[in-house]
C-alpha cells in the first residue's frame, strides 16, 4: 500500500480512505486515563517506612529464625528483618540451631541459643519442623542419606524499608531515616502545618525570585529552602519535610516514581525529551533502533534482541515486580504469547495472582494502593510490548472494579470480589463472547462453502471447528504471511480435526479469491467509525474480497471495541522486529540482505497492524449479534457503560 499514501495519486475513492490522512479528529482520552495514575494515590504509595529504629543497636544478639519455613512469603528477606525486634549488632554472630525455634516465634531468648556450638540436627528435628510435613516425610523415605539441619551463620539486619528498595536507599544517610520516622509520627494537623509551610516557602521563593537575577533552577531551589527556614515558626518540621522530599528524589526510581510517569500508551516517540525521560524510568533496557522509517518515527522501535537478555539478567533485582507479571512480561517480550485474546487472558490471570498475594501495606488504602500497583505493572508490560486495545479495555475494567470496591469490605472479601470479577470478565467477555459468536457465525456456513481466513484468529478457529462438528461440508483456505506464519499453526490444528484445507501466502490472494464464497477474519480491535484494526494484511484480504464481491465477515468480541476513531494505520501502530523480515528462520542460506542491516540507506519496516475501512466489511459478528460496521458506535455507546459496571 506504499503507493497509496498520497491520496491525490489514486483515483479510486474507496482506496483513498486507507491512505495517509492527517486526521483532525480528536483523540479519545479514555486510553489516556486508564494508565494515568490517580494523582491522589501519589501520597499513599511512598515506600514503606521502617518501624524499627535503626539507631537502636542493642548488643544482645537476637536470633532470627530462618524465614522460609515459617511463611510462604515471597519476600523472606524482609520477613526476616521484620521479625527482628531489635537490630543485631554487626560484630556479634552466633550459631543457632533450628531446634531453638520450633514455631518460628520471634521472641528468642538470648539464653537459649548455643553460641558457637555447631549442632548437627538430623531427622527428628526435621520432622518437628512445622508446615513441611510432606517434605519431611519424603526425606524420611529416602533414608540412605541422613537428613541434615541448617545452621544459620549469617543474618541480615536491614530495616525493612531499606530491604525493599535496596538499590538506591542504602546510600542515604541516617538523617533520612530519622526524618522518615519523624514524618510518620506527624498528626493530621502537623501535616497540614507542614503543607502550609511549604506553600508559604514556595510563595516566598516566588516573590524572591523576582528580585533574584535569573540563575539556574538549582540556585532557585536552594534559596527557597533558605527563605523558608526563617519564615516558619516550626522550622524543624519544615526542614524535615524538605529533607524528606529531597531524599525521596534521591532514592532512585521508586515505585511511586515509576507509576507516576508511566509511559503514555500513545507517546510520540519522535519527541526526544519525552523519550529520554521515559527511558530513564524504564525497567526494560531499550536501545532505540538506528535506521527507522521516517513516517513511523513516532512509534517505539527498539533494538530487538537486547531487551530480553537484559531483562532476564535482572530477574532477581526487580523486587517490586510480582513473579506472575514478570513472567507474562517476559512472554510478551519473547513473543511466546501473541494474539489479542491470549495476551489479555494472560495479563488478567497474572493480575489475579497479584491480587491473591496482595496484602495492604499498613496505613494504606487498598483501593488506592492496589490501583497504583496495577498501574506500575501495566507500565512494565507496556515496556515489554505496547498494549493492545483489548488489554486496555481489560485494564480499565480492573481498575474500575478496584475503585468501586466499597470501603466497608475487608481485605479478604475485597480480594475475593476482585478475583471473581476478573474471572467473570474472562468467562463472559472473552470465552462466553466467543461461544456466542460461534453460534451466530455457524448459521452462515452452508454446505459446499469455501471459507477463507487470514492469520490465526481465535474466534474463527472455533467457528470452523464447530461447523465441522455439525457435519457441515466446507473447505478452508488459510492465507498466511511472513514473518510470523501464524497460519501454519491454525492449519496444523484444522488438519488434525480432518477439515480439508488449502494453504497459501498472501501474495496469491487475488488468484485464490475466485473460488472463495466467504471470508472470515479476526480483529485486534474495532473502532467506532467501523474501522477494523487488525493484523497487518487483513486490509489487503478484505479489499480483494470486496473487489471480488465476496462477503467479509469479521468476528470480534465486543470487549475489543473502542470508541476511538482512526482513519489510517500510521498514527497508531506497532513496529515489530525489523530483522524478522530480513531473515528466514532455519534457512541460513537465504541471506541476501546480510551485511546491509546497519546500512544507513536501508530501513526495515515490519508493521504489525493495519486499519481496514468499514466499506470492505460486510458484517461484524460480535457477542451482541451480527451487526453492520456502522452499528459499532451504538454498541460502544450502549454497552460500554455496562462493560465497566458488569
Amino acid at each position: 500500500m506504499e503507493s497509496r499514501r498520497n491520496p491525490r495519486a489514486v483515483v479510486d475513492p474507496k482506496v483513498r480512505q486507507v491512505g495517509f490522512f492527517t486526521s483532525s479528529q480528536p483523540d479519545s482520552s479514555s486510553t489516556q486515563q486508564q494508565t494515568e495514575p490517580i494523582s491522589a494515590s501519589a501520597s499513599a504509595s511512598s515506600p514503606p517506612v521502617s518501624t524499627i529504629s535503626p539507631s537502636g543497636n542493642s548488643l544482645s544478639p537476637v536470633m532470627i529464625p530462618p524465614p522460609r519455613l515459617n511463611s510462604s512469603d515471597t519476600f523472606p528477606l524482609r520477613n526476616a528483618a521484620a521479625g527482628a525486634t531489635s537490630a543485631v549488632s554487626p560484630s556479634s554472630f552466633s550459631y543457632s540451631n533450628r531446634r531453638d525455634f520450633p514455631d518460628g516465634s520471634t521472641t528468642a531468648s538470648p539464653g537459649r541459643h548455643s553460641r558457637g556450638s555447631f549442632v548437627k540436627s538430623s531427622a527428628p528435628v526435621a520432622s518437628s519442623l512445622p508446615g513441611i510435613g510432606m517434605d519431611s516425610m519424603a526425606a524420611a523415605k529416602s533414608s540412605s542419606v541422613p537428613a541434615s539441619g541448617l545452621t544459620t551463620v549469617s543474618v541480615v539486619t536491614m530495616p525493612p524499608g531499606l530491604a525493599e528498595n535496596a538499590s538506591g536507599m542504602e546510600v542515604q544517610s541516617d538523617q533520612k531515616k530519622n526524618s522518615k520516622s519523624l514524618k510518620e509520627k506527624t498528626t493530621k494537623a502537623e501535616r497540614r502545618a507542614i503543607q502550609e509551610a511549604q506553600r508559604a516557602a514556595k510563595a516566598a521563593a516566588k516573590a524572591d525570585g523576582g528580585k533574584v537575577p535569573p540563575g539556574t533552577s538549582a540556585s532557585l531551589a536552594s534559596t527557597s529552602v533558605k527563605v523558608a527556614k526563617p519564615a516558619k515558626p516550626s522550622t524543624q518540621k519544615n526542614e524535615v519535610a524538605v529533607s524528606a522530599g529531597v531524599t525521596e528524589k534521591k532514592g532512585g526510581p521508586s515505585e511511586k516514581d515509576r507509576k507516576k510517569d508511566a509511559p503514555h500508551p500513545r507517546m510520540q516517540y519522535d519527541d526526544e525529551s519525552r523519550v529520554v525521560k521515559a527511558k530513564r524510568r524504564a525497567v526494560v533496557k531499550q536501545t532505540e533502533a538506528k535506521n527507522r522509517v521516517e513516517l513511523f518515527r513516532h512509534l517505539p522501535q527498539y533494538e530487538h534482541g537486547t531487551q530480553l537478555p537484559d531483562l532476564e539478567a535482572k530477574f532477581f533485582q526487580l523486587d517490586p515486580m510480582h513473579p506472575a507479571v514478570y513472567k507474562v512480561g517476559l512472554q510478551y517480550l519473547s513473543g511466546d504469547i501473541s494474539g489479542g485474546n491470549a495476551r489479555c487472558i494472560a495479563m488478567l490471570q497474572a493480575f489475579q495472582d497479584v491480587i491473591k498475594d496482595y496484602s495492604t501495606p499498613p496505613e494504606k488504602n487498598l483501593n488506592r494502593d492496589m490501583t497504583s500497583k496495577i498501574s506500575s505493572y501495566v507500565s512494565f508490560l507496556i515496556e515489554c510490548r505496547p498494549l493492545s486495545i483489548s488489554m486496555g479495555n481489560a485494564i480499565r475494567f480492573v481498575k474500575n472494579r478496584i475503585a468501586k470496591l466499597p470501603i466497608t469490605l475487608s481485605e479478604s472479601e475485597a480480594k475475593a470480589a476482585l478475583q471473581s470479577d476478573i474471572e467473570r470478565f474472562i468467562n463472559d467477555k472473552i470465552i462466553g463472547a466467543d461461544m456466542v459468536i460461534v453460534k451466530h457465525a455457524v448459521t452462515k456456513i452452508r454446505d459446499g462453502d469455501v471459507l477463507l481466513t487470514y492469520g490465526s484468529p481465535t474466534a474463527v478457529e472455533m467457528i470452523l471447528l464447530h461447523a465441522h462438528e455439525l457435519k457441515k461440508k466446507f473447505r478452508v483456505l488459510v492465507v498466511d504471511s511472513r514473518p510470523k506464519l501464524e497460519g501454519q499453526l491454525l492449519l496444523r490444528r484444522l488438519i488434525k480435526r480432518g477439515i480439508s484445507c488449502t494453504y497459501t501466502h498472501i501474495n496469491a490472494i487475488s488468484y485464490i479469491m475466485h473460488e472463495v464464497t466467504k471470508v472470515f477474519l479476526g480483529a485486534s480491535s474495532v473502532l467506532s467509525n467501523g474501522t477494523v484494526y487488525s493484523r497487518v494484511g487483513t486490509a489487503c484480504v478484505a479489499m480483494v474480497a470486496s473487489a471480488f464481491r465476496v462477503p467479509v465477515l469479521l468476528c470480534c468480541e465486543a470487549y475489543k471495541f473502542h470508541e476511538r476513531v482512526q482513519l489510517d494505520s500510521i498514527c497508531s501502530n506497532e513496529l515489530g522486529d525489523p530483522n524478522a523480515i530480513s531473515k528466514v528462520h532455519g534457512r541460513e542460506d537465504i541471506n541476501y540482505l546480510d551485511g546491509l542491516t546497519n546500512n544507513a540507506n536501508l530501513q526495515f519496516l515490519n508493521l504489525m497492524y493495519d486499519a481496514t475501512p468499514s466499506d470492505y466489511i460486510s458484517m461484524i459478528i460480535t457477542d451482541y449479534g451480527m451487526v453492520p460496521p456502522t452499528s459499532v458506535p451504538v454498541i460502544v455507546r450502549e454497552y460500554q457503560k455496562e462493560h465497566l459496571l458488569v
Partner: protein, 454 residues
C-alpha cells in the same frame, strides 16, 4: 520471585590435593587472596539473592566454611550452612536438605564458580518456559598455562577435547541430549523419540555445563525420592530428566491439580477453552506437538540458557583451573576481583615491603604485610598475606598463599605454594605443588612434582 538458592560448596575435593587440606576446604581456597566461595556469594548478592543455603560435605569443612561466612557476610546475607556426610554426591547432598526446600523453584549453584554471568538469566528462562530443569551452558574456557609461561610440555596443555557434549534443538532453547565428553568412547545412544519430535538436533562440544541449574522443586524432590541410586546431579539426575522428557514420570504439578476444583460442567468447559486459547496463541514447542500427537503423554521441558561469550566463567575443579582462575582474576577478568588496580595493572598492598631493585610486574598481586627481598622479580603471580620472600627470587605464573616463606635465590614457575609452606634457599620449582606446611629442602631442582607429607 519464589526462588531458593542452594550453593553446593563441596568438601575436600580429591582433584585438588594437595591444595586442599583439613584447614582449607575447597570452598575456601584463595583466588586472588579471597576464598573462592566469596565470588559466588558476591555474584548472588549483586543479584539481590540474599537468602542462601550453603551445603558443605563433612562436619569439619562445614564448621570452617560456616565460620568464614559468618565473619565475612554478617549483615549482608542470610546464609544457612548445612553439613552433609562426605561422598554422598551432589544428589545426595540435595536429598539431605530436601526437607528445607519450600520455594517453587530451586536455583542450584556450584560453590567453586568464578563468574559474572547473572544467575537471574537462568531463572528467567526457567520461568518463561515453565521448565522442569534449566541448565546454564557457557563457552569452554581457555585452559592451559598462559603464553608467557611458555613451554610446559605437560599433558595438561592439551586439555580434554571436549568436556560436555550437548544436543540442542534448532531454536537453542531446549536440551535434547547431554553427556560427559570423557564418557563417550566411540558411539552413543540418542533417544529416537526425542530426535523425531524435535526434528533436528544440534550436537555441540564447544559448550560446557556450568553447574548452575534451576530446578522445579517438585520435580527435583520426586526424582531424588524415586531414584535413590542417583548420586550426582550432573551425571545422573540431569541426563535422566533429559532422557525422559517426552515420557515424563514426574508429575507436572499444575495441570493435574488445578482442574479438580471446579465441579460445574460449564466452568470446566470454559477452563478447557481458556487453556486452549492460551496454548494456541504461542508457538508450540516440540513437547506440546508431541503431547498433542499421542494421547495421555506427559512431557516436561529441559531448557538451556546459553551464556554470552563475553562473560567470564571458570570452575575451580582442578589444579590447572586453580592456576587459571588466579591468573584471570588479576588479569583479564579483573572486574571480578573487587580490587582497584594500580597504574601498573597490579595490586601491591600498602603494607607490603619491597626490597631494592625488586620488580612487580603487571597482573600481580601482593598481599598485606608480605615482605619481598632485594632483586626479586614477580610476574603474573599472586602472593598472599604475610609471606616472606628472600632476595634474588623469581616468581612467575605462580600462586603463593598466606604465610609462606621462600628462601633466597629460589625460582618458582607455574607452581602453587600453599600456606605456611617453606622453601629453603636456591630451590627451583617448575609446575609443582607444595602442600601447606611442607618444607622443601635447599638447592633442589624439581619439575612437575607434588610435595605432600605421606
Amino acid at each position: 520471585m519464589d526462588f531458593q538458592v542452594v550453593i553446593l560448596a563441596g568438601g575436600f575435593s580429591s582433584n585438588l590435593v594437595p591444595l586442599v587440606s583439613k584447614e582449607v576446604p575447597k570452598a575456601l581456597l584463595p583466588v586472588a587472596n579471597r576464598p573462592v566461595l566469596s565470588y559466588v556469594l558476591d555474584l548472588l548478592e549483586s543479584n539481590n539473592l540474599k537468602d542462601l543455603i550453603v551445603v558443605v560435605e563433612g562436619e569439619d569443612a562445614a564448621l570452617k566454611v560456616g565460620g568464614w561466612i559468618s565473619a565475612a557476610c554478617v549483615d549482608r546475607l542470610h546464609v544457612e550452612v548445612a553439613a552433609v556426610a562426605e561422598n554422598v554426591g551432589t544428589a545426595g547432598a540435595l536429598r539431605a536438605i530436601a526437607h528445607h526446600l519450600t520455594a517453587k523453584d530451586i536455583l542450584i549453584v556450584s560453590g567453586d564458580i568464578v563468574s559474572d554471568i547473572p544467575p537471574g538469566a537462568v531463572a528467567a528462562t526457567h520461568r518463561r518456559h515453565d521448565a522442569a530443569v534449566t541448565v546454564m551452558l557457557c563457552a569452554q574456557p581457555v585452559s592451559g598455562p598462559s603464553e608467557s609461561g611458555g613451554s610446559s610440555g605437560k599433558d595438561k596443555t592439551k586439555k580434554p577435547a571436549c568436556e560436555d557434549i550437548v544436543g540442542l534443538d534448532s531454536w537453542k532453547q531446549f536440551l535434547l541430549y547431554i553427556a560427559k565428553g570423557t564418557e563417550i568412547k566411540k558411539d552413543t545412544r540418542v533417544k529416537k523419540s526425542i530426535l523425531c519430535a524435535a526434528g533436528k538436533m544440534e550436537l555441540r562440544s564447544d559448550l560446557m555445563d556450568s553447574h548452575i541449574y534451576a530446578f522445579k522443586r517438585s520435580v527435583l524432590q520426586e526424582v531424588l525420592d524415586q531414584k535413590p541410586a542417583f548420586r550426582s546431579l550432573k551425571q545422573d539426575v540431569l541426563p535422566y530428566l533429559v532422557r525422559t522428557q517426552l515420557r515424563s514420570d514426574v508429575s507436572s504439578d499444575q495441570n493435574n491439580v488445578e482442574e479438580i476444583g471446579n465441579g460445574k460442567d460449564n466452568m470446566q468447559n470454559n477452563e478447557v477453552v481458556l487453556s486452549q486459547i492460551l496454548s494456541n496463541a504461542s508457538l508450540p514447542s516440540f513437547h506440546q506437538v508431541y503431547e498433542s500427537g499421542l494421547d495421555s503423554r506427559k512431557t516436561h521441558k529441559c531448557c538451556v540458557y546459553i551464556a554470552d561469550e563475553s562473560k567470564f566463567f571458570v570452575r575451580l575443579n582442578s589444579i590447572q583451573a586453580f592456576m587459571d582462575v588466579n591468573r584471570d582474576v588479576i588479569g583479564d577478568a579483573n572486574h571480578l576481583s573487587g580490587y582497584s588496580f594500580s597504574a601498573h595493572h597490579n595490586i601491591v598492598h600498602p603494607s607490603a615491603e619491597l626490597g631494592s631493585k625488586t620488580t612487580v610486574g603487571p597482573h600481580c598481586m601482593l598481599g598485606e604485610g608480605s615482605q619481598v627481598g632485594d632483586k626479586c622479580s614477580v610476574k603474573r603471580s599472586v602472593i598472599g598475606r604475610h609471606c616472606r620472600i628472600g632476595s634474588n627470587v623469581k616468581i612467575v605464573n605462580s600462586v603463593v598463599m598466606d604465610h609462606a616463606t621462600i628462601g633466597d635465590g629460589c625460582s618458582i614457575q607455574g607452581s602453587v605454594i600453599c600456606s605456611n609452606a617453606q622453601l629453603q634457599e636456591r630451590v627451583t620449582l617448575r609446575d609443582c605443588q607444595v602442600e601447606a606446611g611442607y618444607i622443601v629442602c635447599a638447592g633442589g631442582e624439581h619439575k612437575g612434582e607434588t610435595f605432600a607429607r605421606k
